[in-house]
């Protein structure tokens, strides 16, 4: 009950007019940077950082986190409208969000995404509120083997969902892993697969991969299919928003499952990206309408969005308690924390309760404000889709090129994104699954690092992955999830050497 009292104190701190204005400003700015590819939450934070030097730490963190929520929502918007995810964690939103938007239901897709994201975030904050003490200690139990097990679990659950030719899935995953390997190796400090090319020593950024594969690739596919984009007239009525909101309760099982996955991945080091992919995969497996995933299925939007945002909220707690940021944005915010004179760590909760609980309270309020504001922008965004493709297409192309450049101010990245664009186009037409490629880029090197750290610390024995109940449980579930589709697929291949495979 102590938490509840502290939360009330937190609300007293967070809910002043001053702070609510800060939240509104932060969310709006976040929306702008989230929607404009080429800018992201880290840009917003960098922009605001000098402003915060003169603020109270609590006001400063409320400003930055509100900006972050806004950017997350904005990132989902571009995923749905243009198939360009702004953050790794909103990749999974493109799978069904963009198809639904292309079918003329952009308003519905956006509303579903925002509503489930809001619900997910609130569930996440609720979990933080109730279990703050426990979560911080639980996170300390994660050594390298446990890290590896979490990544393995996410991978295993996702690989099963990639339909189609197992060979193509294999190629896609492995190419993703190879792309993730390029650059400096953490464990040995050696450059890998750089072939002496200067630009490759920094590695290939995930953003370049998605801008190419998803953004440019999708443009080419759309062109090839003959401007199908254009025929669609998005409905613009406000009633559509409310009708979609009324739809939400129907999906309570999906929401609950996704939020649970999200909270678990947020508390453990898996993070929002792994959470959204895993939730999408499991959503597809457990949903009665699993066959419709990838074609504009509502549950295919709700699953990743809910998990993404509940994980994002939950991940804040281990970050504050351990001082290990989960994303680039979080890292900039933590840097800010230290510049303001606060140190993240286990003592922050006892030494700065006002700060911590004010922040948690602001997360409730900030997310509510974000959902309301973002829903208000839905008609505006849907309007963009009514413009003819001959205008929108080149604009998206420019956005992709600028976006590729701003990732690291490298001209080389523009070329790389164009190459990935061609790869995305060909792969999509030949139905190579792209999602495993992206997941492999995001999680591959983390998983490898964790694996090799485990090997170094255990003297090279694989037993380390089954030594404690925690890691053994996660590994067993992971292996089960990995084998399940393989078994079914082998049986399927034996009994049905079909000529036409259903792929999505």
């Amino acid at each position: 009950m102590g938490n509840f009292g502290q939360l009330m104190d937190g609300f007293a701190i967070a809910l002043t007019t001053h702070h609510i204005l800060i939240m509104v400003f932060g969310v709006l700015l976040g929306l702008v940077v989230g929607v404009l590819p080429g800018l992201g939450a880290p840009n917003g934070v960098s922009l605001l950082m000098p402003l915060t030097f003169t603020m109270e730490p609590i006001s400063a963190i409320i400003l930055l986190t509100s900006m972050y929520w806004g950017a997350l929502f904005g990132g989902s918007t571009t995923s749905i409208l243009f198939n360009i995810p702004g953050e790794p964690s909103s990749v999974a939103t493109t799978f069904d969000g963009h198809p639904m938007a292309k079918q003329g239901q952009a308003v519905r897709a956006l509303t579903l995404a925002f509503a489930s994201a809001g619900i997910g975030a609130l569930i996440g904050v609720l979990v933080i509120t109730l279990m703050s003490g426990w979560v911080a200690n639980f996170a300390l139990r994660f050594g390298s083997p446990e890290y590896f097990a979490v990544y393995f679990l996410a991978f295993a659950s996702f690989i099963g969902m990639a339909g189609g030719s197992p060979f193509k899935t294999l190629v896609s995953i492995m190419l993703g892993l190879a792309a993730g390997t390029i650059g400096m190796d953490t464990i040995s400090g050696e450059g890998r697969l750089t072939f002496g090319i200067n630009e490759l020593t920094a590695g290939i950024s995930f953003l370049i991969v998605v801008i190419g594969l998803f953004g440019i690739g999708e443009l080419l596919v759309t062109i090839d299919e003959g401007y199908k984009f254009e025929g669609v007239k998005a409905k613009l009525s406000l009633r559509e928003i409310f009708r979609t909101l009324a739809e939400m309760p129907r999906y309570w099982v999906t929401i609950l499952r996704s939020a649970l996955i999200g909270c678990w991945m947020g508390i453990t080091p898996g993070g929002p990206t792994a959470a959204s992919f895993m939730s999408y995969a499991l959503g597809r497996r457990f949903s009665k309408r699993g066959w419709n995933f990838g074609k504009g299925e509502p549950e295919g939007i709700i699953s990743p969005e809910t998990a993404d945002h509940s994980a994002g909220s939950c991940a804040l707690l281990p970050m504050l308690a351990l001082g290990v940021p989960g994303s680039a944005t979080a890292a900039v915010m933590m840097g800010g924390l230290m510049i303001w004179g606060l140190s993240p760590g286990p003592m922050l909760f006892t030494s700065q309760p006002d700060f911590v609980w004010g922040l948690i309270a602001s997360m409730y309020a900030g997310n509510l404000i974000a959902v309301v504001l973002v829903l208000a922008t839905v008609p505006l965004f849907a309007f963009i889709l009514r413009a003819p493709f001959s205008v929108v297409g080149p604009l998206i192309a420019i956005i992709c090129v600028i976006g590729a450049y701003t990732v690291a101010n490298h001209v080389f990245d523009i070329w790389l994104a164009l190459v990935f664009g061609l790869v995305g186009y060909v792969f999509k037409k030949l139905s190579y699954p792209l999602a495993p490629f992206v997941l492999a880029v995001v999680l591959g090197d983390k998983a490898e690092d964790a694996f090799r750290q485990s090997m170094l610390s255990s003297g090279g024995t694989l037993r380390v992955f089954f030594e404690t109940p925690l890691v053994a449980t996660m590994m067993t579930i992971g292996i089960f999830l990995l084998l399940l589709p393989l078994i079914t697929r082998v049986f399927g291949a034996v009994f049905n050497s079909g000529t036409k495979r259903g792929v999505a």
Binding site: L140, G143, D185, T186, G189, V324, M338, D449, L456
Partner: protein, 340 residues
Amino acid sequence: MKKTASYLGLAAAIAVTASVSAPDAARAEWKPDRPVEIVVSAGPGGGTDIFARVVQAALTKNALLTTPILVLNKGGGSGSEAFNYAKDNPDSPYKIYFGTQDAYVLPLGTKVNYSFNDLTPVASMVFDVFILWSNPKASGLNTAQEFIAKAKANPGKVRVAGAKAKDADETVVTLIERATGTDLAYIPYKSGSEAAIQVAGGHIEANTNNPSESLEQWKAGNQKPLCVFTSARLTDKTVVADGMSWADIPTCVEAGIDVKDFLQPRTVWMGAKVPPEALAYYTDLMKKVTETPEFKSYVERNVQINKMLVGQDFKTFLDQQIKTYAEIYKANGWLVATGQ
């Protein structure tokens, strides 16, 4: 308008320096007239990033620099991305680079595309110290002597975590090994704070770190400082935890590990062909930064050694450092044969 002014200014500056007679006058005149880029040789959130952002805060809050400041993180390739950028922009007076010893150590042990000669040293602003930490609850190690005894009894089995491979942390671990005749298992993590968490969680026996990265875990009782790699004890006497202050941490030499000063300079650089008046301007600017309250509180919070090196002092220091590192790297077998 603006263009003409800047071109004239630059031309005048070049003319004056060329004539050698009155360089001071030119120095006083040079001022950046467009946004200044602070290039950080590390990703966001780490020690170097915080260092650069503290400097940014000090410059902004005290209006030392009135043109806009852009902070760019170029941490790819262990930070070599930032210094490659310096190589590509050798004469830009609007780019200053923030790093550690990595600026001159990276080319020794890794195949990178820049060499030390692609950089102009500006200043070393402050020194971070290194501390050897353990988790007394999980490993029962309370002193450096116990740590060494355990390492001797279990060769290759006692694990030490640190940030990155072949960087400062691994170097200091190899120095410990050589000084004590032990064999430790070094395990690299992405950042110092990740390594600290592994020790705090009881998964790894010990780690080396800058004080601030493990301070909170010390307060929480999850970590304990065993010894500090300096020749004299730290001066801060405020009690941190268990009645112990920074000044109560024995030096490693006292504790039986014969590794003297192992310090991490927080360094500032510019491109190789930067105009001398710009160099003079930024050197002066950095001196002013060290006098701001923001920077002072940063130094205090991070228990750093407040010693600034510029000009010839810095160059002498660098020559010394490169020699020392080259010896260590040679002994470790990390030295790469570069073309230069």
